[in-house]
């Protein structure tokens, strides 16, 4: 069973199949909060064959967008439920048909939906329990108000799989590992990603692959805190990611550019 499905079922208390079967969506609760859980899982029968291994492809992008937008529309009365994106995505599919049919737009649809939900006032929390790779993570997770991750060797955040990066950059995996020691942004482990300051919290002491009841409770508590924190935050943008002490240190150029732009903006 994929980590995405494991955590989805543990948190949402649901074992349903989605339509398409690669996108799971169910409403449940976190503490007192009504919460919609979403995740992407492998689907051996997927219509588009290149997205059968849990990749975020055409159907997955548009389906996530549908489920998120439905919550935004239904909650228009003001009581906006939380959205939890359980992230376990190996990347996007590589295929001719995918590009022809607008894979970039399918991923944009998911980005758009999550960002729209956040701006409308839904607390959006991403929970990385496995791989969080590239366009798939941009589409499912990166637009959240708060990002949580399990500290586990199987939780990785990167822009391309290590195998592919090695081929594209014509370096060996060993060489990539060496570079990653010097440049945390190129590392795969979630602790290195945490140094960039975008994580709300790195959750320790939880078995990400086979959690027991206590682990699930630990994660539930962390989700509840993240949702509350998002609810009490006046801003619905992503500026918090640059306000952390880690970001001040490891994204100092991002901050300096913004300062200069603000100084020079009106001329």
């Amino acid at each position: 069973m994929s980590r995405g499905r494991t955590w989805f079922e543990a948190l949402a208390g649901a074992t349903l199949d989605g339509e398409p079967a690669s996108v799971l969506c169910a409403d449940g609760t976190v503490g007192d909060e009504r919460t919609r859980f979403l995740t992407v899982v492998p689907n051996a029968e997927a219509k588009f064959t290149r997205a059968r291994g849990g990749e975020l492809g055409l159907e997955e992008g548009w389906t996530l967008a549908r489920h998120v937008r439905e919550a935004v529309a239904v909650d228009d009365d003001g009581d906006r439920r939380a959205l939890v994106a359980v992230v376990d995505v190996p990347g996007q599919p590589y295929g001719h048909r995918e590009e022809l049919l607008g894979l970039h737009l399918a991923l944009a649809a998911a980005v758009d939906a999550y960002a729209t939900a956040r701006l409308a006032g839904h607390p959006v929390v991403a929970l990385a329990v496995g791989q969080a790779i590239s366009g798939a993570f941009l589409a499912h997770g990166m637009q959240a108000n708060r990002i949580l991750a399990l500290e586990d060797p199987g939780v990785t955040v990167q822009v391309m799989s290590k195998r592919s990066t090695a081929r594209v950059t014509r370096r060996s995996v060993d060489e990539l590992d060496k570079i990653a020691e010097e440049v945390p942004a190129t590392a795969y482990d979630v602790a290195s990603f945490a140094r960039l300051g975008a994580l709300h919290r790195l959750i320790e002491g939880v078995d990400a692959a086979e959690p027991d009841a206590e682990h699930v409770e630990t994660v539930r508590d962390a989700l509840a805190e993240a949702i509350t924190s998002a609810r009490h935050d006046d801003s619905t943008d992503l500026s918090g990611r640059l306000a952390s002490p880690e970001a001040r240190r490891h994204r100092s150029a991002s901050l300096r550019v913004r300062e200069r732009l603000a100084e020079e903006w009106t001329g």
Partner: protein, 283 residues
């Protein structure tokens, strides 16, 4: 700094700085964080890559059609237009300031000149974070003012920045321009030459080229590779109202399109044009 552009020039022959100047009303170009400030990427030199003094992105203020504007031009000749920490922050930061102005009732017309392979691999997750911030800013900004993207060529627009293109209110492309999530060479490498022969130019352009994207409704205007033509298309885009429903929000429409695809049958660019035209689901 003064940047002058000859009339009747191929847009794709221009540098990013010249492209930005060409889109702004004559004499209004003003660059922010210009090359003399030398705000370079701090991450490249340690990896044996010579940095650029503008990190490959030009932020230009000025007017478009007598309205305040900001043009964000990516230089495709520097590291394939890859988005790193500094270049990404220039784009995100400028869009965030445009949003602040729009919220105060002073809209600024934002234009993205997209020539990029996506995230710069040497800066990896820093590029990923920057692109997520670019996405967030586009979605917030475009409810106030149309966000206009231009994919002119010759690099094309790929990766996380292709997602950004998908979020734009209005996309202008030339026949030379290409727009797709994964570049043809990456697809060939990852999925094999039988999936996509990246050297088959006709196949590539029939799949992700500007003509195909406009014909299937995934971009809005097909223009000649000419400075005046592209500047004109950008002005027209700003005279059009913000779309009631942006392309990336048309969930039912695109789900219906995908539902109509028989995945067991071969499909190519010309066949898709016919199919979507016959279904009457073109924009």
């Amino acid at each position: 700094m003064t940047v002058s552009v000859r009339p009747k020039t191929r847009f794709t022959e221009l540098s990013a700085r010249e492209r930005a100047a060409a889109l702004l009303d004559s004499g209004t170009f003003r660059e922010l964080i210009g090359p003399f400030e030398r705000l370079e990427s701090p991450h490249l030199e340690p990896q044996g890559v010579v940095p650029a003094c503008d990190d490959g992105v030009v932020v230009a203020r000025g007017d478009i059609g007598d309205q305040r504007a900001v043009v964000l031009a990516i230089e495709g000749l520097f590291q394939g237009g890859g988005i790193g920490e500094v270049s990404g922050a220039k784009i995100a930061g400028a869009l965030e300031l445009a949003l602040r102005d729009a919220e105060r009732g002073h809209p600024v017309r934002p234009v993205l000149l997209l020539e990029t392979g996506g995230i710069r691999l040497q800066e990896a997750n820093l590029g990923l974070l920057a692109i997520a911030e670019i996405h967030a800013a586009i979605v917030a900004l475009r409810s106030h003012v149309p966000v206009v993207g231009v994919v002119a060529g010759m690099v094309g627009c790929f990766g996380g920045m292709a997602i950004a293109a998908g979020l734009c209110s209005h996309l202008v492309m030339t026949r030379e321009g290409r727009l797709g999530l994964n570049g043809p060479q990456v697809i060939e490498q990852e999925a094999g030459v039988a999936e996509l022969d990246s050297e088959d130019r006709r196949l590539v352009w029939e799949t992700i080229g500007g003509d195909q994207r406009v014909a299937t409704g995934m971009a809005d205007a097909l223009v000649e590779d000419d400075v005046a033509a592209i500047a004109g298309a950008v002005r027209i885009a700003f005279e059009t109202a913000v779309p009631a429903e942006h392309r990336s929000a048309q969930v039912g429409f695109y789900e219906a399109r995908l539902a109509g695809i028989d995945a067991s049958e071969p499909l190519d660019g010309p066949a898709l044009r016919t199919l979507w035209r016959d279904e009457g689901v073109g924009r």
